[in-house]
Chain length 221, copies 2
């Protein structure tokens, strides 16, 4: 079991991941700029789980300080500033970026054209951290509304630190009931992050909560 | 049934798609710069199918001229020149781009950072065509080695011309046995094309031929 800080845990994706991680027995700290809001969100999640669970709220830097694993579930807007401010505390930790740099206009969502992904930006700004890109694609509401394994979806994991990537591939089973899929080096986050725009388009078109599965991998390792 | 030209039909992805389209009863013309190579490839496919089938080879412009639907299955290198040269013949046709702008180095494949996708480039260079981005993700060898529906994978389809997009969503059933998934506007090709880099990484890591499935869409329309 890990001590997991979810930065941006008051937002939908962060809330969903924090819920699932706490439900699985991990020690979870919701991080926010506002410790009061973080504590409120932690209480909401604890109440949903009902049984004895280890979830609390704290200001971001304090949430990070106590964690082995940090999940960045923050908006793209303000991402660089936030990571820079936390960088001294992220060193030596496994940092999971599920940030999606998207934009929206009258034609729906689309991926921003960037020289580096959010995950690569986080790695550049916090060079002592082991940044892994993952958990971009499971819908926030699917996480929040499901308490069993979301076994028909896959969690794709990319990163340059093999040990940290392995930790995240294992953590993926908390959500799907099966190990995450190794999607390659950290730079592949450029492909994983904006794929979320496709899923949001599909959700609107088909009135559903879509997800991604990778075929041909089951039973291989 | 459509008259389909497969430009780049002598390459693996084009060969696979040409095979499956001919197998389903469409009239297929393999296009190449070299009509002789195109004809050889058409004969290879006809021999594999065995029964009476309507597949032939021609020089690119001639292949396009006779077609209702044109599949661009060409390398990214040289893409702009090729599309420009064919543009006068592409007007009024449904043009399917399955081009993947990837690069490879010691760390494997990755998506190129581009201002526009290959599909958008084709649309810009052939403004009278109805360009649709699709068929990026089914592995060339899966297409070639399978004669039944590849029902565990999905074909994602993006485009701005709704009628052409509908044609391609229907054609997707030729490969998977089910209608393709509407992934949104043509600009979403920026997300679909480089996702192939993720799949190639997964193939190498897991020694498999991976594919993409979108969950939560079955039974919705």
């Amino acid at each position: 079991m890990y001590r997991i800080a979810v930065i941006g845990g008051t937002g939908p994706q962060g809330r969903g991941l924090a819920y699932r991680m706490a439900l699985a027995g991990h020690t979870v700290t919701i991080g926010s700029r506002d410790a009061g809001r973080a504590t409120e969100k932690a209480e909401e999640i604890a109440a949903k789980i009902g049984t004895d669970t280890d979830i609390s709220g704290a200001e971001n830097a304090s949430a990070v300080a106590d964690a082995d694993v940090v999940i960045l579930a923050v908006p793209w807007d303000g991402h660089a500033e936030l990571v820079s401010s936390l960088a001294p505390d992220l060193g030596g930790k496994t940092v999971i970026s599920c940030v999606n740099p998207l934009a929206f206009d009258d034609h729906g969502p689309y991926g921003l054209t960037l020289e580096e992904s959010a995950a690569e930006e986080a790695q550049r700004l916090a060079p002592e951290a082991a940044v892994v890109g993952s958990f971009h694609h499971v819908a926030a509401l699917t996480l929040w509304k499901t308490d069993g394994p979301i076994s028909h979806e896959d969690i794709l994991v990319c990163g340059d630190d093999q040990e940290a990537k392995g930790v995240v591939m294992d953590l993926a089973a908390t959500v799907t009931g099966k190990r995450g899929i190794d999607a390659g080096a950290l730079r592949l986050a450029r492909q994983l992050e904006p794929l979320t725009a496709v899923l949001i388009n599909v959700n609107k078109k088909y009135k559903t909560r879509s997800g991604v599965a990778i075929t041909g991998v089951e039973g291989k390792s």
